[in-house]
């Protein structure tokens, strides 16, 4: 029998791209974070300093990081709360023909530009906008507006994995639980939830990381709100090394999140 050989030739291009463009950029960011800037011209000066990292632990930036984590967590929870019943309806209740329509309905917003959707929310949230005239009030531009907008933007990324999670759940397991006298609540708690957890965690990786890094929607509907993304955006112009340190902070947060998510086994199914 011929030995199977790894096709190095074919892999060279994608591997080079991964190493040079992707890891290379991360390394450059991390390296830059140890430099400083000329106070007059704002040019990067290659003098080694750890000041940028200690700067992250000042009250201003701890508050910004905390606020960003809170927003990402709220968006993720809201997406879960909406996605689980919706995906259940799609996978288990809706008749076959409606199912396709619903999947399309979830996917269609992804075809529209992110900016168009964010500006649509800006218009809806303005004084005398749609929210104001329908519900008699608007939260205005700020944290609430950002959470609403991001939840809307990232919802499909939560619904799709949860939907396929429901589809994979064998009907027989539910029937067995019912036959053995399990109530609906018990079935949900002991059968549905455990087999759905990896799907939810996989969805949360998207909603959490996308919310953590977002700065455009925040600029559009966030008012004066400052989050990690907008802080990076602001410092990139004036203090690139510090912006790099902030960028490193969000990479660290995501590595921690992915490690925790990996433990649940959610990433095996991606």
């Amino acid at each position: 029998m011929r030995q199977r050989r790894t096709p190095f030739g074919l892999l060279a291009a994608p591997m080079a791209w991964l190493v040079v463009a992707y890891l290379g950029a991360l390394v450059a960011i991390f390296a830059t974070a140890f430099f400083t800037t000329d106070p007059f011209t704002n040019k990067v000066v290659t003098t080694f300093t750890t000041e940028n990292f200690s700067g992250l632990f000042t009250s201003t930036y701890l508050r910004i990081i905390g606020r960003t984590l809170l927003i990402a967590a709220l968006v993720t929870i809201l997406c879960m709360v909406i996605a689980v019943p919706f995906a259940y309806f799609m996978a288990r209740v809706a008749p076959r023909r409606l199912r396709g329509v619903l999947v399309a309905a979830v996917l269609v917003p992804l075809w529209a530009s992110y900016l168009v959707k964010a500006y649509a929310w800006r218009a809806m949230l303005q004084p005398e906008g749609v929210l104001d005239s329908v519900f008699g009030g608007t939260p205005g531009y700020g944290t609430v507006a950002v959470v609403l907008t991001l939840t809307y933007l990232w919802l499909p990324y939560m619904i799709l994995p949860v939907y396929s999670g429901f589809e994979r759940l064998p009907e027989a397991h539910l029937e067995a639980s019912a036959d053995l006298g399990g109530s609906t609540a018990t079935t949900f708690r002991r059968i549905v939830l455990p087999s759905l957890t990896p799907a939810i965690v996989a969805g949360s990786v998207f909603t959490f990381s996308l919310s953590l890094g977002d700065y455009i929607a925040v600029q559009i509907v966030g008012g004066k709100l400052q989050v990690l993304g907008t802080a990076v955006r602001q410092n990139i112009v004036l203090d690139l090394p510090f912006a790099a340190a902030l960028g490193t902070a969000s990479v660290v947060i995501m590595v921690v999140y992915l490690t925790l998510a990996g433990r649940t086994g959610a990433l095996d199914n991606l």
Binding site: V19, V20, L23, G24, V27, A28, A31, T32, F35, T37, D38, P39, F40, T41, N42, K43, V44, V45, T46, T60, Y61, R63, I64, A123, Q126, P127, E128, G129, G140, Y141, G223, K224, Q226, A231, Q234, N235, I236, V237, L238, D239
Partner: protein, 398 residues
């Protein structure tokens, strides 16, 4: 193992690249404040046009008809000179400095807080004023100033100047304000509906207000603040921040916020007030009694530009009487070319904007880069530099 070698090489590359752009070579001249100036030579003579030129400009300075078909002073130039013009606009001087550093732009409209930073970094080169036919008609008071020249060598061609104004919603803000207090001490009246300019240079606006309201701080120049004076300005801005709805640097965003009513008062440029009014927003603008910060802009040429002949031609065109008048009227500022005053469609434009009134402009504090050597001449204290302003601005925004 292989991977780690590769990563090591990458790290070295990244470091080298940054070192290369971080170090200046051959600096034998000193600018104001003692910064080193790279030794660059101006062009001797113009060559053949290179066919294209890219401009970095404040919004409203280089209009090619794409925003409003009636507002176009680029198309004719393109046909005449054979230089195709591409425009990129920026919202703050900090953005301009950063974009110019990429070396992708040939010409830039730089305000006084950007010019010296670009000169010191070697991003722009000296100008041979003999190659600019309209240079002789520029007001003398704008030539050889500390923000556009070093040791008597001009680094650009003056374009125009003006003051930052207070814009307000006529229906919501009554009586009509005549003081910056509406966005500072009395801002709580319009809590959540105040706007401010999103750049550390806005600290100077607070300092300018404190010059009038807190004389005991002895601020003489809003760009020369010692520790104590800076702290007072930062305090004022932190209080203001509680009432701010949005900060702006994108002028279209400010227009929209005033239009939809989410913002009712804040700092602006005349061109923004004009655009907002043309879009039926109920706004007006005023130069408050405390005076204001402002700008005096200069067209500069990128040192790495490969389209210098087209660059010179474009600069010459932009400061020619007709075009300079058109820009000054569209943007709402005083033109730099004295002959432009005869070309404006409103015969009183130059009078309204005080084009020749040096006393008026002595009350406008042109944007400048704060440095450690106090710009107001004090030698007994160290002033705060722009890097410190930047850190404080993050605190205010945080």
């Amino acid at each position: 193992m292989r991977t780690s070698t590769k990563l090591g090489a990458m790290f070295a590359c990244a470091t080298l690249a940054l070192t290369a752009c971080g170090s200046d070579s051959g600096s034998d001249k000193k600018g104001p404040g003692g910064f080193a100036v790279p030794d660059l030579k101006p062009l001797d003579k113009l060559g053949a046009g290179e066919g294209e030129v890219s401009v970095l400009a404040w919004p409203g300075y280089v209009e090619d008809g794409s925003n409003d078909p009636k507002v176009d002073w680029v198309s004719d130039f393109e046909t005449e000179s054979g230089c195709k013009v591409t425009v990129k606009t920026f919202g703050t001087s900090d953005e301009a400095v950063q974009l110019m550093r990429t070396g992708q732009y040939d010409v830039v409209s730089a305000s006084g807080d950007a010019t010296l930073r670009m000169i010191a970094a070697g991003d722009v080169e000296p100008i041979n004023t003999d190659l600019v036919t309209n240079y002789k008609d520029i007001f003398d008071s704008l030539k050889d100033q500390k923000w556009n020249s070093v040791d008597g060598q001009m680094y650009g061609v003056p374009h125009g100047r003006g003051a930052n104004l207070l814009m307000y919603n006529k229906q919501k803000v009554t009586p009509a304000p005549d003081s910056w207090s509406v966005v500072f001490d009395d801002a709580s009246k319009y809590a959540g509906k105040i706007t401010a300019y999103d750049s550390p240079i806005y600290i100077a606006d607070a300092a300018n207000y404190l010059m009038a309201t807190k004389p005991e701080l002895k601020i003489k120049d809003p760009y020369a603040l010692d520790e104590k004076q800076l702290a007072a300005a930062v305090d004022l801005l932190k209080k203001q921040s509680q009432n701010v709805g949005e900060y702006w640097s994108d002028y279209l965003k400010e227009v929209q916020a005033f239009k939809n009513g989410s913002i009712v008062a804040g700092t602006t440029w005349q061109v923004i007030a004009n655009v907002a009014q043309s879009e039926k927003a109920p706004v007006d603008s005023v130069l408050p009694k405390e005076g204001s910060t402002g700008w005096s802009d200069t067209w500069m040429l990128g040192a790495k530009s490969k389209h210098k002949t087209c660059g010179y031609k474009l600069i010459d065109h932009l400061v020619s009487p007709k075009t300079n008048a058109a820009i000054a009227e569209y943007f709402g500022e005083a033109p730099a070319n004295r002959l432009a005053c005869k070309e404006t469609s409103d015969p009183n434009h130059c009078a309204t904007y005080h084009a020749e009134d040096e006393d008026y402009f002595s009350q406008v504090r042109f944007w400048n880069t704060p440095i450690e050597d106090c710009l107001d001449g004090r030698t007994d204290v160290k002033c705060t530099n722009y890097a410190e302003w930047t850190k404080k601005w993050s605190e205010i925004r945080g």
